[in-house]
């Protein structure tokens, strides 16, 4: 019995070793991330007294105002984005034979890859105080004396970014309605309202909470938009207040306190919304699977749908066209001959590529381990844990991580190299959830479908990645990496925090030019930024897609 027991223990130990060895990439990736976030939290906790935090939360009216505004603007942005997205997504779903449908849906993907500061420039040019829309309205005799800066500007910009996102996330809901249900609706003589009530709304209720949760989180931790268009005492979010505490008041204790508040609120929100922030199955929004709809006969309905589609696309496209127009008509040569712009460009590209490579390695490590835990060891809890660790920036935002690292490095001095390293690491953590959420479902699908076959044929590790996984994840991965590179390149978050060390990036340069009212120069720099973002996206996306195993 003793021998048997000893043999059993030996087998268990051996088995554990094999498991740990096979899971090491993910464990290493998770530990690196936890170290980054953990050191941030440690610094913040050291910098902010818990009692002081509670006391300030109770008594400080500034913190009250900032926290309430952060939540309020996020709620309004979410309601507006999702509320408008529902009829527009329905219009796209209904008008499947509309000749420009796929093109316009693709164009609605542009805001996602547009650097925030560039979009803000375009939005100010079109919808701002002396923008195109106001000039047109005044020419028509309609005057509006409201202030664009503040809540209005923040909402317009958040809707600009999130309305297309919501539309693209909601359109697949219609794809999930079985074609027989449409036929049934026709057979039962349902009118448009009844079709919406019995078919479309139930399909939408599966998607709306998830879409709303993601948009709410994005708006709640929105930094650049509020920094440029808000920022006054009445329109400041916690993220911007952290930046102001560090950059303008140089009050690390206040920054740490606000960062802890941001983490606490984000944690509560994620805990409340986590069941809706799931990895979505992959659907092709450009496919046409339903060729029968009983409510397409009315010409009035079609005109209404097309009007909605054109209005939405105009709202999104006008700022982007304005960037191109003002950029091309600006002082191109003067700006391009400046040395600072090329230094900033080189820095931005290095940051984008380095952070994308780090994010790629981390995501593959986390995802393959998560998959192995689910498919082979049938441990969903541990498998989900790796997903959650990869998405940790949803709770601890890049500005918060940047603040922690800023405070960590402060005693030893923040030089150029340290600033670059921090920007790269924080950007890698920033884009990680995008890669995980885009590639995860495909990688898991490959595992569920082919795991037994791979094990049967002894296709292991590298060969499996090369021959089985790569053909399946190539498309989503190349898209996610292209997107990540352009997001890192265009990010005005942590780069703005560390620019005093000389690490000025292209988005920071646009921000400085806008702040100094050098709009002509900002237009050219913005155009250069959008051009490099697009090039980087295309090179990575198309290049990787062509790279066959």
């Amino acid at each position: 019995m003793g021998n048997g027991m000893a043999r059993g223990i030996k087998q268990i130990t051996l088995k554990s070793r094999v498991i740990i060895f096979s899971l090491w990439p993910g464990i290493l990736g998770a530990l690196s991330l936890l170290l980054l976030i953990g050191s941030t939290l440690a610094v913040l906790l050291r910098g902010s007294d818990a009692l002081l935090l509670i006391n300030e939360l109770r008594n400080d009216s500034y913190i009250h105002r900032v926290a309430i505004f952060s939540i309020w603007q996020a709620v309004l942005s979410t309601v507006l984005s999702v509320g408008i997205a529902i009829p527009v997504a329905r219009a796209f779903a209904r008008q499947q034979d509309f000749i420009f449908r796929d093109l316009l849906l693709k164009l609605l993907g542009l805001p996602v890859v547009t650097p925030i500061i560039v979009a803000i420039f375009g939005i100010i040019a079109v919808y701002g105080q002396s923008g195109l829309v106001r000039a047109t309205l005044e020419a028509l005799g309609v005057s509006w004396n409201g202030n664009f800066y503040g809540l209005t500007g923040i909402l317009v910009t958040h809707v600009f970014f999130n309305l297309p996102l919501a539309i693209r996330m909601l359109v697949p809901a219609w794809e999930r309605i079985p074609s027989e249900n449409w036929r049934l609706a026709g057979q039962l003589g349902m009118n448009t309202q009844q079709i919406f009530r019995w078919l479309e709304w139930p399909a939408l209720t599966g998607s709306i909470p998830g879409v709303s949760a993601i948009i709410f989180l994005l708006c709640f931790s929105s930094f650049a938009v509020v920094l440029v268009l808000g920022g006054g005492p009445s329109a400041t979010t916690i993220e911007v207040a952290i930046y102001q505490a560090l950059r303008f008041q140089f009050d690390p204790a206040q920054a740490a306190l606000l960062a802890m508040l941001q983490i606490s609120i984000c944690t509560i929100i994620v805990l409340i919304l986590h069941r809706w922030i799931r990895v979505q199955p992959v659907y092709n929004i450009f496919s046409v699977s339903t060729n029968y709809r009983p409510d397409l006969i009315s010409q009035g309905g079609r005109r209404f749908d097309l009007t909605l589609i054109y209005l939405t696309c105009s709202f999104v496209m006008l700022p982007l066209l304005a960037v191109i127009y003002y950029g091309l008509t600006g002082p191109i040569l003067d700006v391009l001959l400046e040395r600072t712009i090329w230094a900033a460009t080189t820095r931005s590209i290095i940051i984008a590529i380095a952070s994308t490579i780090i994010a790629l390695l981390l995501s593959i490590a986390l995802l393959t381990t998560s998959r192995e835990l689910l498919v082979i060891h049938k441990n969903r809890g541990l498998s989900d844990l790796f997903y959650i660790i990869g998405s940790i920036v949803l709770v601890v935002s890049p500005i918060v991580v940047g603040t922690g690292l800023f405070l960590l490095l402060l005693p030893i001095g923040i030089n150029f190299d340290a600033a670059m390293l921090v920007i790269i690491l924080v950007n890698a953590a920033l884009v990680l959830p995008y890669i995980i959420r885009t590639v995860g479902p495909a990688l898991l699908d490959a595992g569920l479908r082919y795991d037994k076959l791979c094990r049967n044929l002894a296709i292991n590790r590298w060969n499996r990645l090369r021959l089985v996984d790569w053909p399946i994840i190539r498309r989503p991965l190349s898209f996610a990496l292209g997107l990540s590179a352009s997001l890192s390149l265009g990010d005005l978050g942590v780069a703005a925090l560390f620019n005093s060390a000389g690490a000025i990036t292209l988005p920071v340069l646009v921000y400085y030019q806008l702040s100094a009212y050098r709009f002509d120069e900002a237009a050219v720099t913005a155009l250069l930024l959008i051009f490099i973002c697009a090039m980087l996206f295309v090179i990575i996306d198309k290049g990787l897609q062509k790279w066959h195993s």
Binding site: E180, L184, G186, Q187, L188, G189, W198, P202, P294
Partner: protein, 237 residues
Amino acid sequence: MAFLTIDHLRFLYGSWQLSVDATLKENSCTAIIGPSGAGKSTLLSLIAGFETPKKGAIYIDGTNITSLPPGKRPVTMLFQDNNLFAHLSLFRNIGLGRDPGLRLSPSDHSSIRQAITEVGLTGLENRLPHAVSGGERQRTALARCLCQNRPVLLLDEPFNSLDPAARQEMLILVNQLRHDQHLTVLIVTHNPAEVAKIADSAIFMCNGNISECGDINELLENPKTPELEHYLRSPNA
């Protein structure tokens, strides 16, 4: 006397063409058989109004229904899957057959209860579709068809996903309802021998045309065309 007349019906799908001419008697049960891609389901879709013919007309009881939308046709159809709305109880799913807005009058309620009894679903009406068996789901869909009070019932391989015993049970139920409600039934099937127990006639379709039609037993026992002979010998039939 012809009840359902399909008059020189033509339908194009790319280069593929369906061309059908047929008449069916009132209260009859006709099996539509044929290989995959022969046009069986397309024919049902044309009769139900989900597809628009290029030429020809469909008459039911002397009325041309070709230009009517599906909801206005005296026809009801049962599909292979997704006959029910997953988020509605069986009762509400059946109720949609009375009013698509579910504003049900007391007489609607009694019609629904009667249909539930007729298809043997008493006691299950408050359940959601996922909480009942495949056979019970198809019974629910059949009950809704009954509530619609439409004289033509089209069945597009509706019992394929059921086990043989449940399939048999459903066919017996359809036959009983046909007689009780005076329905004219068209059933697409890949199992002609099974349907022969309730069908009076059969239509064999091949490449978008009716290749043979007549008494079902006669057709199955003495196929006149090599296509039907080949089809009946195939493992699918």
